[in-house]
Amino acid sequence: MLSRVAERIYWSARYLERAENTARMINVYSKMLLDLPSGVDIGWYKLVLLNGAERQFERKFHHRDEHSVIEFLLADVDFSGSVLSSLQMIRENVRTTRDALPAEAWEQVNESAIYATSRLEYGLRRGDRYEYLDGIIRCCQQLSGMLDTTMRRDAGWEFFRLGRNLERADMTTRILDAGASMLEGHPGREEPLNLVQIVCGNVLRSASAYQPYRRVIKGPVRSRLVVRFLLEDELFPRSVAHCIDQMIDAVGALPHQRRVLKMLKCERRQILARLDDETLDDTLRDHLNTLQVQFAEFHQEFTRNWFSLERPEAR
């Protein structure tokens, strides 16, 4: 497989995951704001902060209101994390790797892009937004499922898995970070009483983790347990531990994998060891930040090992 093709498949997977997660996040956020007790204003702008996109946002928008934030996250062409940009990037990447992906993938990507663009106005209107975003999520899952059931389990597939799980792990830490930041903004953490409940519940929901959490951990939703679940549960597909295990698995099936595999396994042990229950409340956001930096390093390693065209080695 061409290095360039491998890289584009990897990025298709990352953008696919990104589009879906952005849609999820907006969806859950919209609902959460309805639940919050009056007087608590956590604001739409958090969604921009959460994506680390303050600068891109400020360049175009002057108000940090709902409409601006939603337009930015759904449709801004210069923000690579927006839903439309992500779909467009998937389209470009799939288009340039058509010979390595199932033929239906291209049709499916086109349909999704047509759906997202032609109905954009629904997404911007509060009343129709849920349905629009639900449609986006469905499009992404349809493509994902189609690839799941039709892609040959060759190197292309492993790169797809690699991209998907890296992006997913990263998104999970951002969702947690969002929750943590909301609670942080309100120093009297126990007041209003049900804020923790609401935020934690929604953090879980945006990761589709509410039910699985409930089944595994009995009793009321507690913030520490939520953090533990989303970071450490080995069986939940969106937990950081599970995503890293998937990456380890994918890398194991690729050529020239030794160095990368060693790094992943080593980090997998460290990541979970660093978490200390006693200081969790104070160190969580730092910890999440460290994780995100770590994921960026994973990406650098993948690039160096498989994608970089400068490699001088010859057979």
Binding site: L2, S3, R4, V5, R98, D99, W106, I114, L254, H256
Partner: protein
């Protein structure tokens, strides 16, 4: 309301489906009858299906504009063109004959140049050729073939006969659209495939594969093939990707390839370097290798010509094959066929005046209002003068250009391109001009597509069919009526 064929008047032109108002040509009878039986709503529904299918299949081409590159859906007309198999068989034989002769001609030009010594082709015409590559003199590519893939443009004149308009031997495109047009038509008019014996077109990728395999340097193993594309911004990128997928070849860009010290060409893969046997290159000669041709080319591969000359990799088409893709050389093709094959050409050329010849030039300059003038080395319909439609000042400007560089211009009478019904509104058809581009392949054998790509000038009265200039296309049916 439905299509009223009695209102359809092909006028003075040869129409592919209708010979007189209300009267279908025999091979098209069932199609015409069937379309006439559909209501305007049904026809509209099928047109919409076609449009949606094309969008979903992502059949597109790129247009360069001032506002940037636009990826446009492929414009498609649902009414197919029908050609009788008997007519087609003769045409196909003529196409093979032509490519066979052209390959002998190219090989001769890079070796003994007998055709110049025998004064069939004047020496100065070759001397002024833009596409003759001195770097290729003395080389012998596998099977002695230089042009493996040729897109030949055919037109039908008033007399209903096919004429060759040009031979595209550099990087002809369009074949993927031929295949996609058929796929769309099968979704849109499935009923007709039962009642007609429409010959399939989808064996083209196999034919192409066999042709490319014929020229692979390592004949003892399955060849590793690559389609070399300039990249996503090329107008034919869709086709490059499509063909790579159909061939089971890698779609590569210049930066994916590297030439080793052993003169072999390698692809950069996740497992390291992998040797490539055959490159179906879709970039022009001059961009192939910055070490030999344009130094500033970032599309090409440094050392590629070295590898090709050493016989370590096959290139299709071979560098230098474009020498026969020149509208001046075109005028000599009938003579070339007689010279190398000792046969009469099966397909005729369009009458052509060489501005290079003083007498013919005089005629051209005096008759610009009747003629189409073309530069010898442009493609895509650019830089042409269509005399009858041009203004006085445009004609004066062209006269000056011809005087300045006569070798670079030819002129042809304005053809009466044939027409076929095209859907122009709800349940409404009108004649539109069209041409036909079949693809001819030569490796160890000669192979030809069943029919080809029919291109349509979508504007009323227009003769310009190029997709880069607003042309559309339709499916082309070769129907076998033996025993009907």
């Amino acid at each position: 309301m439905t299509i009223d064929w009695t209102q359809y008047d092909p006028g003075d032109y040869y129409d592919e489906l209708i010979c007189a108002p209300g009267k279908a040509r025999e091979p098209a009878r069932r199609l015409v009858h069937y379309l006439g039986s559909l209501s305007a709503e049904e026809i509209e529904a099928r047109r919409i299906t076609a449009e949606a299918t094309i969008q979903e299949m992502g059949v597109s081409f790129t247009v360069y504009t001032d506002e940037g590159n636009i990826d446009r859906s492929w414009p498609f007309d649902i009414v197919p063109r029908v050609i009788d198999k008997k007519v087609w068989d003769v045409t196909a034989a003529g196409l093979k004959q032509r490519l066979q002769a052209l390959n002998l001609f190219i090989d001769d030009l890079y070796h003994d140049q007998k055709i110049l010594r025998d004064k069939v082709l004047p020496r100065h015409i070759l001397a002024n050729s833009q596409n003759f590559r001195p770097e290729c003199i003395g080389l012998s590519p596998p099977c002695g073939i230089w042009a493996h893939i040729c897109g030949t443009d055919l037109v039908r004149d008033r007399d209903g006969r096919f004429y060759v308009l040009e031979d595209n031997l550099r990087v002809p495109s369009g074949v993927s659209y031929m295949l996609e047009n058929r796929a769309v038509t099968k979704r849109v008019l499935p009923e007709l495939f039962d009642s007609y014996r429409i010959l399939p077109v989808d064996d083209y990728p196999d034919k192409l594969y066999d042709t490319l395999a014929d020229i692979a340097p390592r004949q003892y193993r399955e060849p590793v093939m690559a389609v070399l594309t300039p990249g996503i911004f090329n107008s034919a990128y869709f086709e490059h990707a499509f063909l790579a997928q159909q061939l089971g070849a890698e779609l590569v860009e210049g930066s994916d390839l590297v030439v080793g010290d052993d003169d072999c060409v390698y692809m950069r893969t996740i497992e390291g370097l992998e040797r490539v046997d055959v490159i179906y290159r879709r970039i022009d000669d001059l961009y192939l290798d910055p070490e030999v041709f344009r130094e500033d080319s970032v599309l090409g591969v440094p050392g590629l010509m070295r590898a090709w000359k050493a016989g370590k990799v096959a290139l299709a088409n071979a560098p230098g094959a474009g020498v026969a893709d020149d509208k001046v050389i075109y005028a000599f093709v009938p003579a070339i066929i007689r010279y190398y094959l000792d046969q009469e050409p099966i397909l005729n050329n369009v009458e052509t005046y060489l501005c290079d010849d003083p007498k013919q030039r005089d005629y051209v300059l005096k008759n610009l209002h009747k003629l189409v003038v073309k530069p010898a080395n442009e493609s895509g319909g650019y830089g042409m003068l269509i005399g009858p439609h041009a203004s006085d000042s445009e004609r004066r400007e062209f006269a000056a250009r011809i005087a300045a560089d006569p070798r670079n211009y030819i002129a042809q009478p304005t053809l009466s391109l044939s027409t076929a019904p095209a859907l122009v509104g709800r349940g409404c058809v009108e004649p539109r001009h069209l041409d036909l581009r079949p693809f001819v392949l030569q490796g160890r054998e000669l192979r030809v597509t069943t029919g080809g790509l029919t291109r349509v000038a979508m504007a009323r009265g227009s003769l310009v069919v190029n997709s880069s200039q607003g042309g559309g296309s339709k499916d082309t049916w070769i129907v076998d009526r033996e025993g009907d």
